[in-house]
């Protein structure tokens, strides 16, 4: 009749489907186990009088098994619903398991405590937003990567951007800022000098409105020797049209221009961008005793 011992011997030493061994210990996967550890006193199969607490959808039930029903597996476990209130649940457990071994009752109460704590925590977490992890099938990832590469090749980006910028230049959005094509500009200058100066003075007023930072740039450009017109520094250096400026610039200034522009030519063009920014303080000193009158006009 009372073959708990036999069951335990068989289970423990031969094979139990619910047992799982890991590095830290031996555990029992049986859902009716109180502690979850594979033990002589915690095994629901090897104890004919046993009780547990299980949780269904947030409601706790006390399950009890007695030896009188051991031959009726269908009615083996008797279920009692436990109240929501923790203290009342404890009292109910005491009432039902009054004459049961104290160790088991203690284990059950510990389990109840743990489960109520877990229930509180799960409810709190459900209120917060958690990030949901979505998986992408590997096929899609590869497909997207392939399509992206092909799209990048099809979109010849540098050319597209350059085309767009040139189109904007043609449309006249940058009027007043750039003087291109350069030769035509020089021609117009040669023909009417005075008109050009008037235009430039107007331009200089406009520039003042935009901000002081710009003014510093303009000062430098002018002091590179291009007194009468505003040209971008880089365009200035890159063009080989310094010869044209002989007519309009003093010999002294011109020498300075030549000296500055030559090292610029030798180094790579890309460095010029950074160099311009660094050059500025150096040029600024020399400016002061040259272009005094120019500064008065702009300010």
């Amino acid at each position: 009749m009372q073959h708990d011992e036999v069951i335990w011997q068989v289970i423990r030493h031969k094979h139990c489907s619910f047992m799982s061994k890991i590095t830290t210990g031996i555990f029992c996967r049986n859902p009716y186990n109180v502690t979850g550890i594979c033990n002589r006193s915690s095994c629901p199969l090897a104890n004919s009088r046993y009780a547990t607490i299980r949780d269904h959808d947030g409601v706790f039930y006390l399950y009890m098994k007695t030896i009188e029903r051991a031959h009726k597996p269908n009615d083996l476990w008797e279920r009692v619903k436990l109240p929501r209130n923790y203290e009342k649940a404890l009292e109910l457990i005491d009432k039902h398991l009054m004459y049961w071994p104290k160790l088991l009752v203690h284990k059950i109460k510990q389990r109840l405590t743990k489960m109520t704590q877990m229930r509180i925590r799960m409810r709190k977490l459900a209120l917060k937003t958690r990030e949901k992890i979505m998986t992408t099938p590997r096929k899609e990832k590869k497909r997207e990567a392939r399509r992206e590469e092909k799209a990048e090749k099809a979109a010849v980006l540098d050319k597209a951007i350059e085309k767009e910028l040139l189109a904007r230049l043609e449309n006249g959005i940058y009027d007043g800022i750039y003087n291109l094509p350069f030769n035509k500009f020089l021609q117009t200058l040669d023909t009417d000098d005075l008109q050009a100066e008037d235009e430039n003075e107007e331009e200089s007023e406009v520039e003042y409105v935009e901000g002081n930072f710009e003014l510093e740039e303009e000062d430098d450009i002018e002091d590179l020797g291009m007194k009468d017109y505003h040209i971008d520094e880089e365009v200035d250096d890159d063009d080989d049209d310094d010869d044209d400026d002989d007519d309009e610039v003093n010999a002294v200034e011109e020498q300075r221009v030549r000296r500055k522009s030559k090292p610029a030519h030798e180094k790579s063009e890309k460095d010029e961008f950074g160099k311009k920014l660094k050059k500025r303080p150096r040029i600024h000193v020399e400016v002061e005793h040259e272009g005094g009158e120019r500064q008065k006009v702009t300010f």
């Binding site: 917060k128 937003t129 990030e131 899609e140 497909r143 997207e144 990567a145 399509r147 992206e148 092909k150 799209a151 990048e152 099809a154 979109a155 980006l157 540098d158 597209a160 951007i161 350059e162 767009e164 910028l165 040139l166 230049l169 959005i173 940058y174 800022i177 750039y178 291109l180 094509p181 350069f182 030769n183 935009e210 710009e214 740039e217 971008d232 880089e234 365009v235 890159d238 063009d239 063009e269 890309k270 961008f273 950074g274």
Partner: protein, 355 residues
């Protein structure tokens, strides 16, 4: 099979009647020689190889003929025969009825009434809040510092563990115009969430191919001038809306003297982001007189001509975006109304694009 072929040829030579006859003949020929109908593997592969070889020879012949015709026309001084246009995916794109037309009244009315009109009409200056997902590591912070330098008037706040909805409220109180959330997965930024404010749309982009500034060769350093914006190829209605969303991140008064351009180029639903400093230059093209083709200026018989080109120096990060979903209000995945969601069934056709 050989016998049948002979009779067909005879018919063709004798009666040159309608094209219908020819088509029928071709169909018959096709059905006869089709390799997939031959069950014997050796024979089938032999027939297939022969067909392929034949096709290759035909192609080469055609090419030679074309080149010869062009050369002849050139020598004679006539116009060469028109060049054939190669077939590309963009050429053969599936016709989309939502493509914006230039004279669409409804479109302009929609633009006036949409969420970005306030920013785009310069009533509000854009103020961007950049933040991340809860766990941010490795390339995320570097990417964010670069984004801060690209987008003017942007601020970075650490995420903490705030809900996104709370962050939206906070941003509304502080008068931001947009929020950008950089999402990191496996220590790499891989998604961008752009939320317009106060009740603007939420666009979720997938981010890929991120290259930081320090990894670009010969990179330049961006200044703090307001950049110019270039938005290419946003043709459909959805694309137009996304284009306006991107436009609302940047100030509407670019500083042309800063020579800074930010490009969002859409190609086959991938939005490529580039950030350059540009400069216009004149380049001299030396031509010999015999080449009459490249006549750009009509300056008579000058030998060297000048052309204006733009040169770019890349600065700033480089990445690719792909739209995953566009939701109508501010961030609300459960209750919000989605204007557009990417579904896997949309990828079935290689010629169909949505932006």
């Amino acid at each position: 099979m050989g016998g049948k072929r002979k009779t067909n040829e005879n018919e063709g030579m004798e009666g040159e009647e309608d094209s219908k006859h020819n088509i029928k003949k071709m169909e018959k020929e096709k059905s006869e020689i089709l390799p997939s109908s031959i069950k014997n593997k050796e024979k089938r592969s032999a027939v297939h190889a022969k067909l392929k070889h034949q096709k290759k020879l035909d192609k080469r012949k055609k090419l030679k003929a074309r080149d010869a015709a062009a050369k002849r026309a050139l020598e004679l001084g006539e116009e060469p025969p028109p060049k054939q246009i190669p077939r590309t995916i963009e050429n053969t794109r599936e016709a989309d009825e939502t493509v914006c037309m230039p004279d669409d009244e409804e479109l302009f009315a929609g633009n006036d009434a949409d969420e970005f009109s306030a920013v785009l009409k310069q009533d509000r200056t854009p103020k961007i809040l950049i933040t991340t997902c809860r766990f941010n590591s490795t390339r995320g912070p570097a990417f964010i510092t670069e984004l801060l330098s690209v987008i003017p008037n942007s601020h970075y706040h650490k995420r903490g563990t705030y809900d996104l909805k709370k962050i939206v409220e906070y941003a509304n109180n502080k008068e931001f115009t947009s929020i950008i959330v950089v999402h990191t997965n496996r220590r790499e930024p891989d998604a961008l969430l752009i939320i317009g404010l106060p009740d603007g749309p939420t666009a979720h982009f997938k981010l890929s191919s991120l290259v930081l500034r320090k990894d670009i060769k010969n990179h330049g350093n961006p200044t703090s001038h307001e950049p110019e914006l270039v938005l290419n190829n946003f043709t459909t209605r959805l694309g137009h809306r996304i284009g306006r969303l991107i436009q609302s991140l940047f100030p509407q008064s670019p500083n042309f003297r800063g020579r800074r351009v930010v490009t969002f180029h859409n190609q086959r639903d991938f939005i490529f982001f580039r950030h350059h400093r540009y400069i216009f230059e004149t380049k001299e093209i030396k031509q010999s007189e015999s080449k009459g083709k490249k006549a750009k200026d009509t300056k008579g018989e000058s030998i060297s001509k000048e052309k204006v080109i733009a040169r770019l120096q890349e600065c700033g990060p480089r990445f690719t975006l792909k739209l995953v979903s566009l939701q109508h209000g501010t961030f609300d995945t459960k209750g919000g109304e989605f204007e557009w969601v990417h579904k896997p069934e949309m990828d079935t056709s290689r010629r169909r694009f949505f932006l």
